[in-house]
């Protein structure tokens, strides 16, 4: 029984919750339902129990994709945040016009549509003749096949990824830097701390809430990485993931199974497996934070 005094609250929440239920909750629940079915979206679904999950867990593509994802995340998230942090410190060392200028310029790649970024980088990565290999050549380094050498491809992706996303995180970190009281630095300086020591003992601890946000957000988006590797490898629904699946990631595999193989039940099951991974990682992040705060 709703109490009358709560009615205004429910009325205000209602538009969001109704839309959320219809266009988000219902599709999730129905996706969950279909994940136990053989279903191509056109014909009636046939219940097959856990077969979809079994197929996925037993497939080498899944193993490959998860392994790629783990390696990718372990490198790209810290590297991306580290770069963003470096850029923020750099911008912070300037004042006035120049600070604003560099801040805008470093942010520019964020605004670019993913397709453009991927195309340009495919050119830059061209073996033998591309811009990057040309620069390597000046230093007498051999040509690298950035997008076809399975040992290098992941790093090529990470570089693009950092290029695309560093500006976004930089801006967030920059604001955090501005919020650190100057007195803390002065106190540290009086204690004879070097610039580097100030960074370690003042800046980073003061920034931990901001870094936590950047880290969590970065992790959740990295777990769902899709468009940049899809475009870098020139993937299509019938063939995706690049050479030897070196740039195969779960969301790509899921889309391929859905639209390429027309197995939407299997794609849904894949999605839930990935959801479990994302939830575990996020829960882990919050547990670590709670544990650290208690300390």
């Amino acid at each position: 029984m709703l109490k009358r005094k709560y009615l205004p609250h429910y009325l205000m929440v209602a538009p969001f919750m109704v839309l959320f239920t219809v266009f988000f909750l219902y599709p999730i629940v129905s996706g969950f339902f279909y994940s136990f079915h053989k279903w191509n979206a056109a014909q009636p679904a046939v219940f097959i129990g856990l077969d979809n999950y079994r197929t996925i867990l037993g497939s080498r593509d899944f193993e490959k994709a998860m392994w790629n994802l783990a390696t990718y995340i372990v490198i790209t998230v810290p590297l991306g945040i580290g770069t963003a942090f470096g850029l923020a410190v750099l911008v912070d060392s300037f004042t006035g016009r120049w600070a604003a200028f560099f801040r805008s310029v470093f942010f520019l790649p964020v605004v670019l549509p993913a397709f453009l970024a991927a195309t340009i980088w495919r050119w830059i990565y061209t073996p033998n003749f591309g811009l990057l290999n040309m620069i390597f050549g000046w230093f007498g380094l051999p040509s690298v096949n950035f997008l076809n050498d399975t040992g290098v491809m992941l790093y090529s992706l990470i570089a693009v990824d950092v290029w695309v996303s560093a500006g976004f995180n930089m801006v967030i970190i920059l604001a955090g830097l501005k919020n650190i009281p100057q007195e803390l630095y002065e106190a540290a300086r009086l204690d004879g701390a070097t610039r580097f020591q100030q960074l370690i003992h003042v800046t980073i601890p003061m920034m931990s809430p901001v870094l936590f946000f950047v880290l969590t957000y970065g992790l959740i988006s990295a777990l769902q990485v899709f468009d940049v590797p899809w475009l870098l490898t020139g993937s299509s629904f019938s063939n995706y993931g690049g050479r030897r699946g070196a740039l195969l990631f779960p969301v790509m595999d899921m889309m391929g199974r859905g639209f390429g193989g027309v197995k939407f039940g299997e794609a849904a099951a894949y999605g839930f497996l990935l959801t479990i991974v994302i939830m575990t990682v996020t829960a882990g992040m919050f547990t670590i934070r709670a544990w650290r705060e208690r300390k």
């Binding site: 120049w98 605004v111 549509p113 993913a114 195309t119 811009l131």
Partner: protein, 285 residues
């Protein structure tokens, strides 16, 4: 860094030079790829693109010719209108509906509040690809294929938007709300006249992020609005990006560049707001 530690005075000098070197280097890395693409568009046709990255545009007229061709021969201008409308309506809906809900979740307590809010937050972790087909089928059943409401409405309940606004609104002092209530303001008045104006920055941030997301959204418009009269910019660009198309690379890149123009203009005009807005969303986290 060891230099800095050893001799503070020269350290400062080294740093003041080093920061310029680093900043200029980073500027080159950030800008060069974009500049290169512009040069491909404004180049004499038939020139190599990849193997000799030219640093300057070689033919302004040829670039303008391509832009003119694309704008007149394809439905690019209409696609701009569709995309803009799609983005603006989504922004309006997301900010309005989201702020109404965030107002309640952030500032009041009512039975079921925690449960509903955590339900929404959990949904943040479900990849879009899981829900895209069921959502599509639902939209089709509603008869909304090839309509603006089909594009917009399913995206209005943004869990991320709610999260962002709740984070911000939590910092609004309760005293202000109590004071307004004592002055006889209604529940809706408090939302409309007090909380909304105070949340201006957060709403702007959400609007900007929503713009970037809708402008770049490809898969959803592709399946929900397959008719040409409802093509978004992303879809028109997709026409040029087919691997076996007859188009030459400079034309393809022109089509792509045109898609990047509105977000770039948007960014240049609102850059301070954007940067401050994004910064705020993080520091409140």
């Amino acid at each position: 860094m060891t230099d800095i530690a050893a001799t503070p005075r020269t350290g400062i000098e080294v740093w003041s030079i080093l920061r310029w070197v680093l900043a200029i280097l980073a500027t080159i890395i950030a800008v060069l790829p974009i500049w290169w693409m512009i040069n491909v568009v404004f180049s004499v046709p038939g020139e190599p693109v990849v193997i000799n990255p030219r640093l300057w545009p070689t033919s302004l007229s040829s670039g303008l010719g391509k832009i003119h061709m694309i704008l007149t021969e394809t439905e690019y201008l209409r696609a701009y209108v569709v995309s803009l409308l799609y983005a603006l309506l989504t922004i309006a809906g997301v900010t309005l509906i989201g702020s109404m809900a965030a107002f309640e979740f952030a500032l009041f307590d009512f039975p079921g509040r925690r449960l509903l809010f955590s339900l929404v937050m959990l949904s943040l972790m479900v990849p879009v690809a899981v829900t895209i087909i069921p959502t599509y089928l639902l939209t089709a059943e509603l008869g909304w294929l090839n309509t603006m409401q089909g594009l917009v409405v399913p995206g209005l309940s943004s869990a991320f938007g709610l999260f962002l606004l709740v984070q911000f609104m939590r910092s609004i002092p309760r005293d202000m709300i109590e004071a307004a209530r004592l002055d006889g303001a209604s529940h809706f008045d408090i939302y409309w006249h007090i909380v909304l104006p105070l949340s201006r920055n957060a709403l702007i941030t959400l609007a900007i992020l929503t713009f970037m997301k809708t402008w770049g959204n490809y898969m959803w418009p592709l399946i929900v609005a397959p008719r040409p009269e409802m093509y978004t910019v992303g879809q028109v660009v997709g026409l040029f990006n087919s691997p076996y198309s007859h188009q030459t690379v400079d034309v393809v890149m022109t089509a792509n560049l045109l898609a990047a123009v509105p977000p770039l203009i948007f960014f240049l005009i609102f850059q301070r707001k954007i940067v401050e807005g994004i910064a705020m969303s993080g520091s409140k986290g």
